[in-house]
Symmetry: C2
Subunit: 578 residues, 2 copies
């Protein structure tokens, strides 16, 4: 491809309404153009990267035995009424009436359509298992579309749905998809992590999210660097500390703490380590009674864990100040277990503490030297908190670290939710009619481009991983208008790369070097080859990887060989340069 | 691919609501499944053929220098209001409001979005020309969706839009697209014709339709087998017959023709050739006066041609019986030019006739021996009729033939219609601001599959052209469950074809031969290779092309070589087997 035939549309300035770096860079570099809120045109440049993502996803899905089909974007309301989602899905579901006043939706997802397909086409266990997928434009009417392709209204998904005669076979395919997604994100050249998204009843295997690791991610992930354990921080289990609770050594002592309202105040006032403090949180029981939760001062309450405890109101409801004052005789900031007669639940860490500090249930006072069993009865013990870096990994294989991630994939065991609602049944070996076991597997194809940029950029622009770069290399001639020799050499190098199967563009726009280099750094092409009179007189070409700090000046043949080898390696290797 | 891993879903019976052969066969063979009226799921089988069409279209568009991009399906109403089509487009334009009550459409076409893109991105003549295209799902809310993919509501189009600094450059690209479309439909293996769709002001080059030739087509095309002339029958010019008008030889004679109402009656009653009769049609002038049109008895009035004549009411309006009786003194069936004092327009053929028969303007009477100039004044002469087979070709290079066609492509010179309405301008070499010249170029991607079947089928099912067949060959083992040798040979032949780059499927379903063969004939796979014990014992394989009447029994290696060569030839050759 040559730049003049192609369409390069970089902008000098960041778009004023862009909020995050991938959105700014995709618009500035000319990958997408906004048509309406959350609705974009993919330029020829952007479409090149998008198609490369699609091709890798498609190849690996086919390799895994899934069958591609194409369902309609427009779906009849009847199917959504059958599944019940016509009622339960919110206004993100775009509904409309056709000219005959019949109800339709523009599909944000296709469980209903595929279940309808399967129940019509699959009658017998002999036709199972089957896994159908599509790569398709979807629409979700986000209330506040933002962040470019990260939360667009119109977007492209790979959505797959599998059908099975047994749960065991669903589990087999789930594992197959776990491995396939791992291959896909590896091949895309992204640093990512598969994250348990559900601690639920099926051994934690019922749902996994695939996250691209990026500092700007919206989700926090707890993972174990020495094993494959990873979970959304809200779902990671905080284990009890090892060993027994120390024996009490300090007496229970009430101290005046005037003006102390928070743990930070308390630590500063008493000049003690925060790990010696215990904070009190009062929530409501199912019956509306106050329940006291105890957490170490530096730990955060995990509301999801708390509301799942028996007898606790779900969703979690904090007690009112009036109720607290009635039960404890003091207000928040001075609460503690000593003298409280209601239900007390201590976090596992608190249960292993001795000689700690808590509120004295008297405004402006705290107790030091508080000890379980001695100063108040042994409480219930439960996992009440978010994990923190350094906690032991729940799989026992190391300690946890935290990072930020962007969800780009999700695999899920739907089981028989849709097949029961929609009579998607089959006849088993005994002739009995049973609902099919279903799995679903999604990849946010357009979102991947945004996530890749969040992970790979610098002040000058995007740094594409080779497998999804719009071009793998750019040839930049300097002074080609004045020097036929430069123009000729650039053309020769361009052809040599093309012939070697490299996806290369020749910048024949006759821009000045500064503007030309800035464009390609913004666009994020991995390799740049600069052809100049000075280089030609020495027989050399300057090459530079987008991540490198400096040029390499090499004889032409050597420069070509190095670029070709590096690109091939980046596309086939399982390792990448992050 | 192996059939058990794949998804074969043929039906024994035609679907009850299918109206045309391609619709019946696509559903019976399992290429599409209906989701709602005019809305289909493309099965894995159907998607294979669809993707092959897309790939050929994409390759040729790229080769022609067009740049692929991807515009959104959902478009803001503002753009349609700017172009004026928000008002003028009918209810096929699906409009809806998003959750914030803003108006949107689901795009049936993208002139507005691309013109908006171009006006933002292209400022200077230096950036021109540019041709952008996409392959995309579109929606048109047909009042009566029918004929399967031929008139679906949701469908896939290749739509391209070009932008130019001059009309001359638009003409160059228009020719480029004419050639590109010719290559595309040739490569698809279809018999087709480019048809002038507009006799208009720009030398007949302003618009061409590409039709797949099929007896079941909705459009009638007039073409010249000895040149590249082709036009919609309504737009083909009927030339005047060669030579002068013969001299009168018969006297004007009034004859009683009781009960004669039609030309057929007249011919039967008088026992004369129909070519000797002239029929009279009375239409209104712009002022409402009756105008008499004269056509040879066997010719059809072309209303489009008639209503374009100066002074004729447009749209064409036939005179009422009362007005006719007032002007002629007789009713329809007995009308003619003799004695009529109003405006008379004779078709070019009538103008060269002598001694003909017309109505006598007296109910139940006709004149024989009517002659122009002698019996009534020389009338105006114009092209008033549809061409018929045997007419001279307007390009002077032969005679016309007629055939039926299905429109699958359309190229069109939009000129500045949208660029003026939407201020899509550029600065020319002199610094003056001018609207861009625009062209648009569409291919009905999903429709092509239906048209290909209308053209290529028989009583047993579809006969796919090789380039768009879901599989190019099928290996059918007979008795593989009982004979390991058959299973092994089938596997070997399957691998040999795969390794040779043939898109082959192995039918490992263990169906009985009759059912198995019927499935593949219905599906329309071009080549079938049958492996049996009997064949193995003789070292032979039975091969058969879907169009062939008989099997060929060949030694295995020879059978493979022949199938591989035939498929390669069918995909690369410019000729095909129709």
């Amino acid at each position: 491809m040559k730049a003049r035939q192609f369409f390069i549309a970089t902008l000098k300035e960041d778009p004023s309404d862009a909020e995050i770096v991938s959105q700014k860079l995709m618009i500035r570099a000319g990958f997408i153009k906004k048509v309406a809120a959350g609705i974009y045109t993919w330029t020829p440049l952007g479409l090149r990267s998008l198609r490369k993502v699609e091709a890798i996803v498609r190849e690996e899905m086919n390799r895994a035995g899934a069958l591609e089909l194409l369902m309609p974007a427009v779906q009849p309301a009847e199917l959504w009424q059958e599944s019940g989602r016509w009622t339960f899905y919110g206004p993100e579901l775009l509904r409309f009436k056709d000219r005959h006043e019949r109800d339709f939706v523009i599909g944000p997802t296709h469980e209903e359509v595929i279940a309808d397909f399967a129940r019509r086409e699959i009658k017998s266990y002999k036709q199972l298992p089957k896994h159908f997928y599509q790569i398709q434009t979807k629409f979700r009417d986000e209330i506040r579309p933002r962040f470019g392709v990260m939360r667009a209204r119109e977007f492209i998904m790979k959505d797959g749905y599998s059908f099975h005669a047994s749960f065991a076979d669903l589990e087999r395919e789930y594992r197959n998809m776990y491995d396939t997604y791992t291959r896909i994100f590896t091949r895309l050249g992204l640093e990512f992590r598969a994250v348990a998204a559900d601690t639920g009843s099926i051994g934690g295997t019922g749902s996994h999210e695939f996250h691209v690791i990026a500092e700007t991610g919206e989700d926090t992930i707890a993972y174990c660097p020495t094993s494959d354990y990873a979970a959304n921080v809200e779902l990671a289990e905080a284990l009890a500390p090892q060993g027994d609770r120390p024996e009490p050594t300090a007496p229970l002592t009430e101290v005046a703490t005037p003006g102390v309202k928070t743990i930070a105040d308390l630590v500063a006032f008493l000049e003690i380590p925060i790990e010696q403090t215990v904070k009190a949180v009062v929530v409501e029981s199912e019956g509306g009674e106050p329940v006291l939760l105890l957490l170490r001062g530096d730990h955060e309450l995990n509301e999801i864990k708390a509301q799942k405890l028996p007898g606790i109101k779900n969703p979690l409801t904090f007690a009112s100040e009036a109720a607290i004052r009635a039960a404890f005789g003091a207000g928040p900031g001075s609460l503690g277990p000593v003298g409280f007669n209601g239900r007390i639940i201590a976090d596992r860490t608190v249960a292993k503490m001795a000689d700690f500090v808590t509120g004295a249930n008297r405004d402006g006072y705290h107790y030091t030297g508080v000890n379980i069993g001695r100063d108040f009865p042994e409480p219930e013990v439960a996992d009440l908190r978010n994990v923190v870096a350094g906690d032991p990994s729940p799989d026992g294989k190391g300690v946890l670290a935290l990072c930020k991630g962007i969800e780009v994939g999700h695999i899920f065991q739907l089981r028989t939710k849709y097949s029961e609602a929609m009579q998607c049944t089959f006849l088993d070996e005994t002739g009995a009619e049973r609902p099919m076991e279903m799995g679903c597997y999604g990849i946010g194809v357009t979102r991947i481009l945004g996530a890749a940029i969040e992970q790979n950029h610098d002040a000058r622009g995007i740094i594409w991983p080779e497998p999804i770069a719009p071009f793998e290399a750019v040839v930049c001639p300097i002074g080609a208008t004045k020097s036929p020799a430069v123009a000729e050499a650039a053309e020769r190098i361009y052809r040599a790369l093309s012939d070697a199967g490299i996806d290369v563009i020749l910048d024949d726009r006759n821009e000045r070097p500064g503007a030309m280099f800035a464009d390609w750094e913004l666009i994020g092409v991995p390799w740049r080859l600069v052809v100049s009179e000075r280089g030609l007189s020495a027989g050399t070409v300057e090459i530079r990887h987008r991540r490198a700090a400096d040029n390499m000046v090499l004889p032409e043949a050597e420069a070509l060989a190095q670029v070709i080898a590096a690109i091939r390696n980046a596309k086939t290797g399982d390792t990448h340069a992050t």
